[in-house]
Symmetry: C2
Amino acid sequence: MKIVFLGTGSGMPTIKRNVSSIALVFTNSNKLWLWDCGEGTQHQIQKTSLKLSKLEKIFITHLHGDHTFGLPGLLASRGLRGGQDQGNVQIFGPSGLDSYLEQIQNITKTYFPYKIEINIIPQVFSEGILYENEEYLVRYTEVFHNIKTYAYSIEEKKGKCHFLIEKAKKFNIPPGPIYRALKNGEKVKLPDGRIFYGKDFVSNIEKGRKIVFGGDTVFCENLVYISKNADLLIHEATFSQQEEDLAKRNFHSTTSVAAQIARKAQVKQLILTHISPRYSSNNKLTISEKDLLCEAQSIFPETLLAEDFMEYNI
Amino acid sequence: MKIVFLGTGSGMPTIKRNVSSIALVFTNSNKLWLWDCGEGTQHQIQKTSLKLSKLEKIFITHLHGDHTFGLPGLLASRGLRGGQDQGNVQIFGPSGLDSYLEQIQNITKTYFPYKIEINIIPQVFSEGILYENEEYLVRYTEVFHNIKTYAYSIEEKKGKCHFLIEKAKKFNIPPGPIYRALKNGEKVKLPDGRIFYGKDFVSNIEKGRKIVFGGDTVFCENLVYISKNADLLIHEATFSQQEEDLAKRNFHSTTSVAAQIARKAQVKQLILTHISPRYSSNNKLTISEKDLLCEAQSIFPETLLAEDFMEYNI
């Protein structure tokens, strides 16, 4: 899997950082899932190798414009680009997302030549499983912003297993289809009559990968819980720790809050995103983006600061 | 006045052409009026010297997404950038524009720290005066697309007048405030008792400038009428004349239709915009953008093809 940061700013676009959107690419199939879709997300995608036709799912953390204003245009352009034979798109998010898209579609007479399935997260449950297929499980949990907001985790159900090739060679098992059958855990009978069991030729299965998309929030135990032992937590750090009051007033995390969540949840890697334009080099504040990273790393060393078009393999 | 083309493509953005938006800049004051606001218009403005804080009016030709999806984000960013002391914004357009903005604002909880005045064009009148101040007059007329669509003209009420300085010198009139009074058409009495009249010292007043924004439409007599003797007609040429049927099916102009309107209305200059991505150099069609320009120029030689960020002084 690969994460591509499409928009890493907060509130409004700047030349350096577009508003929020993060892509998850399944590297075998190039299939694409998106988290949030600020204005200009489709323009950002055009500057990458990602394909809108490969887009399968969009998860919206909350309905603020810097996370949603790119949705109608991206969906419309997908239709114009891809013709009628591309797959459907599932969209998940908070209540109101359905009427947002329906109203815009009706008023602007926008036609989508593929099916859009909107799945609203039930308001009565503050956490749960949102989507599941053979390989992946997506959970949501409510976090604490000034509008209904969710964090999401995606967990791989099966982890990697390694075939013990040296052990197979030791038993003089001939390579080829038999190795594959053993790797798949099957029982194999060789022409010479010997019988082998797959479970004896694979290493202990590693835990599947887990990624968490934090949503906009102040410090929140729900987010710590859903992030437990994640391989990667991507979380907003809109404000510097030096502007903690401003962060609280706007229901946002500081660099330190993001790092504390990462430490408490014992994640492997934290990536900060949703950076306020106030720390860009054009502004007069004495706090720089480098300072933001240092603040977080002093609490949780395994921290990176996202940039637009940054890629992270997991 | 200066025209800045912010988005000159149709339907969906490409790397070269964003979706529709055209700025009119009043060069003395840097005040800004916009025609249409496709997704990413605020991003385009960031790449120019235009200032969102100077934005006064937005005219929407019709509600299709490639002309409107940038509106909520642009208005929101104007608020975030400019603080509470910037001026209000007036928006003019077809019925539905008001509920489009209200629904989006309510659902996404977007706050504008300035007043937005939405003026809906009354459906009972197919043409009329939309806005008037001391200097300018904006008219609308309905054109023929598959959704209610308007063309707009802006006319300068007073034209330029030239002060006949050599004539004033000949009469030994002393320069300074007296010249200014004469230029303003006033009656002046000199200390030596002589009396002069301003009308005798200015050249015939030139007609005020007139610009027309054509809107998306097939050939339409209303558009010819509103464009009569305009200094500049900016009109869509979504399709080549070689794809006339496609243009008609989609209620759009071809290059030839745009040129015929310009010729019939006897405008001074035609600029083609809203160019389909099908003619970009990446595509396999044998018709190029250069061909589009040639098609129009064969009917109306004074034709230009707009590009994003092209400026035109008038």
